[in-house]
Symmetry: C2
Subunit: 434 residues, 2 copies
C-alpha cells in the first residue's frame, strides 16, 4: 500500500504561497560584485529599474494574475540574507580569490532588503518600476525577471493533468540531454549557466544545472546563480553588466563626458577586481565605437563579453582590434552570452577554436527551452524576451544602444543624442527571440 506522509500532504495542500524566490542569493553573481562597487563609489545615486517586455505580442497582464505577482514580489521583499549565506559569501573563494567581499560589505548585506516596487497594468502589459538608491534597486533585476517568467510558466501549466506535466518535463529533460551529448563532442568547451533571469522555474533551473554538472564534468565551470553555486558546490560565475556604463553615461555632464563614461566605468571596476573579472562589455553604446575610442589599457584586460552582435562577427571584430593593439588573441578571452543555443555554441566554438580563449554563458535556451514540449500544444511555455533595465539615474534618463537597435532601451530623444555621440557604425537590426 502506498505510504502517505499525511503531514507533508496537508502542508502541500494548505500553503499560502509557493515562493519563486527562496533566497536573496537566488540572483546572478555579477549583481553582488557590482553592488559592492556601487555601494563604495556611488552610494547616493538614485536609480530606477523598469521591466521591459520586448515580446509585445505576449500580453503578460492578461496571463499573470496581479494578485499572484504582488504576493511573489512581497514575499521576495521579506527575504533577508541568512547567516549561513553571509558566512559562505565571506568565506568562499570566487574566481580563485579569497575574501572577494569585504567584511564591511557583508555586514551591510545583513540588513539588506529589496526596496518597494510600483506596479500597474497598461495595454495588457505590466509596468513595473523599482525606484530608490541604486544600491537597492539594482538587486531587483534578477528576482523580478525570475518571478514573472515563472508565473508565466505556471499560468501556462495551470489545470494540466499530472500525466501531461510528466510528459512535458520528460520531453524537456530528453531535449536538454541531447544538447549535453552534443556539447560533449567539444573537448575544450568552457560553459556556464546564465539562465536565472529567464528560467522556466527555479526547480527546473536546478535540474538543468545538475544536468550540465553531470554531463559535462570539467567543461561546465559553474553557474551565475549564487544560491545554486552554494548549494551544489559550483563556481559562481559573472562579472559586470550594462547598468554600469548606462548609469555612468546618464550621470555624465555633456557630450564629452558621455563619450568618456564607458571607459571611466572600467577604471572603477579595475580598482575593485582583477584577473578573470577584467571582462568588458563592449556593446552598451555600440561595439565599433567602443573599440575605436578605447584607451590602450583596455587591451590589457582579460577579455570581452560581446552581447548583442552575432557571435562570430562580434568575436572577429574584437580579435582584429586586439591584433591592432599588438596582442595575441590566444591569451585573451571571449565570453559569448547573447541568446546562445546548441547550434550557435557549436558553430562559434568551431570557428574560434585555437584562435582565442572562449567561454559560453548559456541562458534562456538552457533554462527555458520548452518549445514544442507541451503535449497539449500551444506556445504558452515559449520563452519571451523580458528584461529589467536601469531607466534613470538621479532623475536623468538612462540609455542602452547595443549593437542591435531592436535591443536599444531608453528615452527616444536621448537615444538620438547617444547615437550622435557614439556613432551608429556596426549597428544592425536582428530579431530578438530571447
Amino acid at each position: 500500500m502506498a505510504v502517505t506522509d499525511i503531514a507533508t500532504r496537508a502542508y502541500d495542500h494548505t500553503f499560502r504561497l509557493d515562493p519563486i524566490v527562496r533566497s536573496l542569493l537566488d540572483t546572478d553573481f555579477y549583481k553582488l560584485l557590482m553592488l559592492q562597487m556601487i555601494r563604495q563609489l556611488h552610494p547616493d545615486v538614485q536609480a530606477t529599474f523598469s521591466l521591459i517586455n520586448r515580446t509585445t505580442r505576449v500580453r503578460l497582464a492578461d496571463i499573470i494574475d496581479e494578485g499572484e505577482l504582488r504576493a511573489q514580489l512581497d514575499h521576495a521583499r521579506n527575504i533577508r540574507f541568512t547567516k549561513k549565506e553571509l558566512i559562505w559569501l565571506a568565506g568562499n573563494s570566487f574566481y580563485g580569490k579569497a575574501r572577494m567581499f569585504g567584511p564591511d560589505f557583508i555586514a551591510w548585506l545583513a540588513d539588506f532588503r529589496l526596496p518597494e516596487y510600483a506596479l500597474h497594468k497598461a495595454d495588457g502589459q505590466y509596468e513595473l518600476h523599482f525606484s530608490g538608491p541604486w544600491t537597492h534597486t539594482t538587486m531587483w533585476e534578477i528576482p523580478a525577471l525570475a518571478i514573472i517568467n515563472e508565473l508565466k510558466s505556471r499560468a501556462a501549466m495551470r489545470n494540466r493533468g499530472q500525466f501531461t506535466l510528466d510528459v512535458l518535463y520528460a520531453r524537456a529533460k530528453a531535449r536538454l540531454w541531447e544538447k549535453v551529448e552534443r556539447l560533449r563532442h567539444l573537448p575544450d568547451l568552457v560553459i556556464s549557466d546564465f539562465g536565472t533571469r529567464r528560467r522556466h522555474g527555479f526547480l527546473w533551473q536546478r535540474w538543468c544545472v545538475e544536468a550540465l554538472k553531470e554531463g559535462l564534468g570539467e567543461r561546465f565551470i559553474g553557474t551565475s546563480n549564487v544560491l545554486l553555486a552554494m548549494d551544489a558546490d559550483l563556481e559562481a560565475i559573472g562579472t559586470n553588466a550594462h547598468e554600469l556604463p548606462m548609469v555612468a553615461a546618464a550621470l555624465a555632464e555633456g557630450d564629452e563626458a558621455l563619450a568618456r563614461a564607458p571607459y571611466e566605468v572600467l577604471e572603477e571596476w579595475r580598482q575593485h577586481y582583477n584577473g578573470n573579472l577584467l571582462i568588458a562589455l563592449p556593446d552598451a553604446f555600440g561595439t565599433a565605437s567602443f573599440l575605436a575610442n578605447a584607451p590602450n589599457w583596455v587591451a590589457d584586460w582579460t577579455g570581452f563579453r560581446p552581447d548583442s552582435m552575432p557571435p562570430i562577427e562580434g568575436g572577429e571584430q574584437i580579435i582584429r582590434w586586439w591584433r591592432g593593439k599588438g596582442r595575441d588573441p590566444r591569451s585573451k578571452l571571449l565570453i559569448f552570452s547573447d541568446g546562445m543555443d546548441i547550434d550557435s555554441i557549436e558553430e562559434t566554438y568551431r570557428h574560434f577554436q585555437g584562435r582565442v580563449r572562449m567561454s559560453f554563458g548559456w541562458g534562456t535556451n538552457l533554462t527555458n527551452d520548452f518549445r514544442g514540449c507541451d503535449p497539449d500544444g500551444g506556445t504558452g511555455l515559449d520563452p519571451i524576451s523580458l528584461v529589467c533595465k536601469v531607466t534613470s539615474a538621479n532623475g536623468r534618463p538612462a540609455v542602452k544602444l547595443s549593437d542591435n537597435p531592436l535591443k536599444a532601451t531608453g528615452d527616444p530623444a536621448e537615444i538620438e543624442r547617444y547615437r550622435r555621440v557614439f556613432g551608429v557604425s556596426g549597428q544592425d537590426a536582428r530579431p530578438v527571440d530571447v
Copy 2:
C-alpha cells in the same frame, strides 16, 4: 527545508525484497480464461513449462544473480489471490459478459499458489522449469518472464546515479509519447497493452498503460494485465495461447489425431466462450496448413490472431481464406500482436483500413523500448526474446512450429514429425528481435 518521512525512508532502506510480482492478478488475462477451461477439461494433465532465451548472446546467468532470482520466484510462490481480487474477478464483466468466471473456479483460485520450480545454470543461461499439473504450471509463464526481464533491467541500472536514471526515464517517456502522438493520427485504431511478460518493470508498464489511456482515449481498449485492468478500471484483454494446441498435439495418439488436434482445441474453447473471445491462433503448426485443413465452422469464428508471420502477409492470407469460405472480411477481426511497433502498426493499419476489423496487441515495444535511452550507453536495457513455453505434457514432448522456423520450440525429432504431418508451406525464417 525538505520534509522527509523518516518512517518511509527507513522502510525503503531496510526492506528485504523489492518484489517484482505483487499479485497473482499481475498476469495476462488469457491465462485465467485458459485456466478455467484447463481445470474443467484437463485437470489431470501434467505439463512442464520451460524458459527459453532466444537471444542467446545475452548470457542471463552472468547478468542476473541467482539468489535474487530465487528470492523473487519464492516471493511469487507466497502470493495468494486476495479477497478483493476474487470479488472483482467474480463481479466484473469481461468482454461485455457478466460472471465470466464461475463460482466454483473462483473458489478454487482462493487456494491457488504457484507450484515449485527447478532452476540451475548452464552455459551462461538459466534453465528454469515448472513441472506439475497443467492447472498450476501454466500460471508461471507470465510472472517468470516478468521477473527475469525486470531483474535484467535492474542489473543494467545497478549503480547508476539518480540523475542518469532520471534522464533514462525522461527519454523513454518522451519516446513513448512520440509514438502516442503518431497513433493519434489513426482515427479508427483499436489497440491494447500486451506487454506484461516483456516489460522493463512493473512500474514502467503501469506508466505506459496510463500513457495510452491518457493519450489515445477510446482507441485504447485495455490491457492484458489483469491487475492493471482492475486498478485502472480498464478492460482486461486476451483470449488464448499456443499452449492449448501444443498440449493437445502432444497428447494426440498418432499422426491422424495430431492433425486433428488444433481444431479439437477450438471446439473445446467454443464450449466455454463466445463472441469476441472466439479468436483463433492459426500459426502453432503453420498458418497455411491450419487454414487449408480447417473445418468450415472455423470461418464462423470472430477472427484470428496471426502471431509469427509479417502482419500484412499473414492478414492477406487469412482474408483470402475468409473470402474462399464466402465470408465478408469486414465483419471479421484480425489481432496483430507479433513484435508490433509504431511503424508496423501504422503500415498495417493503413494497409487493411476498411477491409477488415483490426486490433493491435502491443507488447515488448510498448513496455520495454529503452534502446538508446541510457545516458551511459550500452545495450543492457535492450529487450530480449525470452519466452516460457510448454515443453511437455504427460511426459510427451510439446512442439511449436510457428510460421517462422526461428520461433519453433521443442524436441528436434518431434519437430520433424510435426513438419511432416502439417507440412512446411508458408514457412519463412525472419529474425526474431523481441
